[in-house]
């Protein structure tokens, strides 16, 4: 570095804070680590499906030990296996529902921005309406309409999470439409289709991708919440919400591990998604190049 060996004759007036580890490299590592871990949990859950529902009444109420890291429940089922299976279910439902939601978001958001004022007004109104009812109430209604269970929760989460992302995408496209370069492209005779592909897609796609990943944690938390309330996955399935709802009965007798580990593990998964989304944003966003 040319400035490192400055002599006394040229005083240094300000010195940049240098970071030891390259931030960009660190971000990539974090992103990959989060993705791998999530993949591991998902696969692990599928493998642990059998153990998670196997009851062994001789092994009831065991506090966490080396043999059962997370302890066992009232039927002697291994809580570790149940938690991993539950997380895996949550991740799959979260992925499915959030992806559907994101597709809805991009369809409605771009329709609002591109198909004229009337469509825009209708979709904006719908967005406001959806945001006007608390998520949970809407989830309860949708889940009830679909007879609760797997479909209730998946469709519910998919139908309730698109509005905010949709609004972002709409805003982004409207802004792009007003840029001088898009207006100029139009005057140069470029077709709407080419403008959409060449100018809009590359600008909207990163936003969409990050928005999608940041939808996962929301979807997962809502899935767990609604299941906890009794509107989601059925009680026989080892979902985090089910496990926690069951644990309530044993709380007053001090079986803390039934509630503690499943919840903490859920936080871990949600935080991993947040981490992945956040680091992806930092990788894509050109403004963070100087950080």
């Amino acid at each position: 570095m040319a400035l490192a060996d400055l002599t006394v004759s040229v005083p240094v007036l300000a010195k940049a804070r240098r970071k030891k580890l390259n931030q960009r490299k660190k971000t990539i590592v974090v992103f990959l680590f989060a993705c791998l871990l999530l993949l591991g949990i998902t696969v692990g859950g599928i493998l642990a499906a059998e153990t998670a529902v196997t009851a062994d009444l001789s092994q009831k109420y065991i506090t966490p030990s080396l043999q059962h890291l997370f302890g066992t429940d009232q039927l002697g089922r291994d809580m570790l296996a149940r938690v991993v299976k539950g997380l895996s279910t949550s991740i799959l439902i979260g992925l499915g529902a959030a992806s559907c939601s994101a597709v809805l978001a991009i369809l409605l958001g771009s329709a609002a921005a591109l198909l004229g004022e009337k469509v825009d007004a209708a979709i904006t109104w719908l967005i406001d309406l959806m945001l006007g009812i608390p998520h949970i109430v809407l989830l309860i209604l949708i889940s009830y309409a679909l007879g609760k269970g797997f479909w209730g929760v998946t469709v519910g989460v998919a139908l309730t999470h698109w509005p905010s992302l949709s609004r972002v995408i709409r805003g982004e496209i409207l802004q792009l439409k007003e840029t001088q370069y898009v207006k100029t492209a139009r005057k140069l005779g470029q077709s709407s289709w080419r403008i959409a592909v060449k100018h809009m897609l590359p600008a909207v796609f990163p936003q969409f991708l990050v928005g999608l990943i940041l939808l996962f944690p929301h979807a997962i938390l809502h899935e767990a919440g609604i299941t906890f309330l009794g509107f989601g996955l059925p009680p026989e399935q080892p979902a985090i919400g089910v496990i926690l709802a069951e644990s309530m009965k044993y709380l007053s007798v001090g079986m803390w591990w039934l509630a503690f580990f499943p919840g903490a593990a859920l936080i871990g998964v949600v935080a991993l998604f947040d981490l992945a989304g956040g680091s992806l944003r930092r990788l894509i966003d050109p403004h963070s190049a100087q950080e």
């Binding site: 309406l129 109430v137 209604l141 309409a145 919440g225 309530m248 001090g254």
Partner: protein, 332 residues
Amino acid sequence: MKRNRLLNFVGKQAAKLIILIVVISMVAFFLVAVSPIDPVQMNTGQAAYANMSLEKRAQLEEYWGVNTPVVEKYTNWAKDIIHGDWGTSLRFNQPVLSVIAERFTNSLLLMIVAWLFSGVFGLLLGIAAGVYRGKLVDKIIKGYALTLASTPTFWLGLLMLMIFAVWLSWFPFGFSTPIGVSAAEATLGQRLYHLILPALTLSIIGVANIALHTREKVIDIMESDFYLFALARGESRGEALRHHCLRNLLLPAMTLQFASISEIFGGSVLVEQVFSYPGLGQAAVSAGIGGDAALLVAIAIISACFVFCGNLIANILYGVVDPRIRRGHGLG
């Protein structure tokens, strides 16, 4: 002129609210009507339902309105509501309005406490984190907020119950009044005592969002041209922050906090369930499980109105506080 504008504004908002109520009631009715869940079966239990005589079953189906077509049900409901009759909650066997009135006061108390607490603390933590960006304080606050943002509300509730009610026995194990004491007889002290844990749970979760948001805003301000100009004119960092930060922060923070009413409501549903706190959220859950259409619809409407009012207050306050709106274009 000014009066006219005010009337215009009130009229517009009222029309918006009425349309909102109509649409939500229709959607809610439709959703309840298409459900495959049989309310009779849900409310009598498996065994009783199987042993029931056909006449009895028909009578109950009549009572729950299972066979009435949805349009007819809706028009009946709409006619009644114009006369101020919200129908009867079949689950609680009481007029919907009285169920809601009682539950809503409980919930409101809970939500207001949590809302104020999370707003004030969120703002303070956010400012601290933003001002000391990159320092230890920032890292701790950021870590705290990010962890909480990923924490399921109900799990935190369970944890609080476990620690403060079971292990330490500092607080009661749920409900809004001591066991055996009705709401009417309970003293204010007793009610507040029962309120602390659920309100705390809700606040702790609520802090995360506003703190993170405020932090971003503080950083934005510290990178703004006007902050730079303040420094260039010799104001110290502290002065520049005092002069330019709070004012520019309060507006977005206020909007965010009012917009978060929807989330606080959602959180209260879960927290009430955990703490067996007899609020609106808990009523929504049991109405949903029991197929209590009238109550479910009413709760959907009330919650939407609640959120609507929050946004409206935010808009009005914005108009009062922000000179660009106050002196520029006025309300609406």
